[in-house]
């Protein structure tokens, strides 16, 4: 079995020091620190600064950036880079993400380790190119055809754009899965303090390259954790991989048994390993009457509302999702059994995460949606009102 191999960051990609930077640039620096050496992208507001910085930085770090002809091309070009052995990412926003769907399905099926950065803006369609939204949360989970599972992470601060994109790359390598880094226009464009640690303090996960010789290697024979080992290109492995339903050899097998085997493993490798993936932050959840559950910029705005509610004597806690998918259901269920209500502010109006809270809590608590169509962040007063109402 190929063990998870941790190493420290390559100092060439690490800009150690204290910076004043926006989230998009910080995400680029985090990607470089994580060992990303290949990026393919297509311009789209409000995400483009990530690849603009990558294009400027990578020639002196050692790697490649290419601006492809469209997002369809970018979303498979990065997989060519990943299969060649490099850590790879693409960066986009809503309309570009919509174009990438087929290749998200391909990445899930080929088990390509790669990172998709989505700096969310208001939709639908061209929507609000320069203003925030959080309305792609369900699209990254269900948007492409077929059964599969992905990982999605939502940063709230510039520091987290750096720190958590490293997690995104590490999880992509650990589980050979596309990982979505779900920023939004506010987090992407806000400028604040960023501390980049020394390279030796940054933990990165290496590619799960096989230790087997070519004659013993099977591209989709899973290890105990359900994740298969990765082949080397150009070293005589002569592997075949396909987006058709395939067996352990990587060969197409068009029948129900092979489909069952492959789809369940793609789903279970994330579901069964979810406890190793979940990351969330809690504040005064124990003993709270009401808990605000949020993520990204909305979680940050919620803190203000929570402070105001506490001044009014309400016992209110915060659960901030960092991993949104897979959803940390057991902990949310547990919280639900102890509170009057869970309040879910987010920058979409159909409750993209709130409906997941409703689903997993299954009526055991009152789930209060605080929808907002995007274009700006919530007024904290609106969240406060929801908290006060829920606390009654």
């Amino acid at each position: 079995m190929a063990e998870i191999r941790y190493t420290t960051a390559d100092p060439k990609g690490v800009l150690t020091g204290v910076h004043y930077m926006d989230g998009n640039h910080a995400a680029c620096e985090g990607a470089l620190a994580a060992g990303c050496r290949f990026a393919a992208g297509y311009p789209i507001t409000p995400s483009t600064e990530v690849v603009e910085r990558f294009a400027a930085r990578i020639p002196t770090v050692g790697g490649v950036f290419i601006q492809m002809e469209d997002e369809i091309a970018s979303s498979i070009c990065l997989q060519g880079g990943a299969w060649a052995g490099l850590k790879a990412m693409t960066v986009t926003s809503g309309p570009g993400l919509s174009l990438m769907m087929e290749h998200i399905s391909l990445a899930a099926c080929l088990e390509t380790p790669c990172v998709f950065v989505d700096v969310q803006r208001g939709g639908p369609s061209t929507g609000l190119p320069t203003l925030p939204g959080q309305a792609d949360m369900q699209q990254v989970r269900w948007g492409a055809h077929g059964d599969y599972e992905i990982i999605a992470i939502a940063p709230s601060t510039v520091q987290e754009c750096f720190d958590f994109i490293i997690d995104a790359f590490n999880l992509a390598e650990m589980f050979r899965v596309p990982v979505f880094f779900m920023m939004d226009e506010c987090v992407g464009h806000m400028t604040e303090k960023l501390v980049i640690p020394k390279a030796e303090e940054i933990k990165v996960v290496e590619r799960r390259f096989t230790t087997k010789p070519p004659e013993e290697y099977l591209p989709y024979k899973p290890d105990e954790d359900l994740v298969p080992e990765f082949p080397y290109v150009g070293k005589g492995y002569k592997f075949h991989v396909t987006g058709l339903t395939h067996d352990e050899r990587g060969y197409p097998v068009i029948n129900a048994e092979a489909q069952h085997e492959m789809c369940w493993r793609l789903v279970n490798k994330i579901k069964k390993n979810a406890p190793k993936i979940w990351k969330y932050e809690e504040d005064q959840v124990e003993g709270a009457d009401v808990v605000v559950l949020s993520y990204g910029i909305s979680a940050r705005v919620s803190i203000k509302a929570i402070e105001m509610a506490r001044e009014k004597g309400v016992k209110v806690g915060l659960m901030r999702l960092i991993t949104v998918w897979p959803f940390p259901s057991p902990r949310v269920k547990e919280i639900a059994s102890n509170v009057k209500a869970i309040v879910v502010p987010e920058l979409n109006i159909r409750g993209q995460v709130a409906r997941e809270v409703e689903r997993v809590t299954a009526g055991t608590t009152n789930v209060v949606r605080v929808p907002h169509a995007g274009g700006t962040v919530h007024d904290p007063e609106v969240i406060l009102e929801a908290i006060m109402e829920a606390a009654k």
Binding site: V64, C77, A84, G234, K235, Y251
Partner: protein, 287 residues
Amino acid sequence: MSADAKYENPVEEFLRTDRLPHVWCSGCGIGTTVNCFARAVKDCGIPLEEIAVVSGIGCTGRVAGYLKLDSVHTTHGRAIAFATGLKLAKPDMHVVVYSGDGDLSGIGGNHLIHAARRNLDITVILVNNLTYAMTGGQVTPTAPHESIATTTPYGVFEDNFNLPYLVAACGASYVARWTAYHVVQLKKAMVEALNKKGFSFIEILAPCPTIYLRRNKLGAATDELKYYKEHCVIQNGADPKDVGIDLLRPDKIIIGKFVDIDKPDYITAMNEHLSKKLGDKYVPWGV
């Protein structure tokens, strides 16, 4: 000859024999092109482990699955975009895109023109059977006037692509057209293309007897090969703008090597340019 005599296929070592029989119909031209390719791989002087094949979707898209090389079967039309990533991330690989006319010039046309424009150092082998065969015979951008397809039941009235002209105009370093009949020349062209620095493109006219020939009442695969033999004219160096095929059965089809020029490929140009701009700070890529 004894009944148990063992016959060895000279290209067997290049094929995934555990995947045979293949999906192609009898008389299909794709297998012939794969035979030529296997022989080209044998003769090209490049170590086998340094050649990767990327296919899209369709009948020709299945080629990657039968070649015993690092091989990837991608999505419809996007093999070139995948190959772009593979080549850029691992410049010492010889990356071959092997797919059909619908895949590469229809849904994938945007990637074809941009890879040619960039002069990316890959080889594109496009098997042109004038139809979307895998899905039952819909019209492709290469199908000539009057072709009958399931989606053009009254015949084609659109103009079609002259692919050598298109790819040459975009900046390819090497452009050739052969047929499934001209196997000796085709294999030689494949050897040249594999060793060509820059974007190399070979269009191969190939019979689809089950769908295209039958539906257009053009006879059997053998009739098509006979037609290639009698009506193809080899004109190396012909101007690509003159090699269009816009009739079902033109008197003359021009084949041959149309373009073979030397100019910096994408990675060479990138390294030269960035070294000039950034000096010692630049980390040269793939050298």
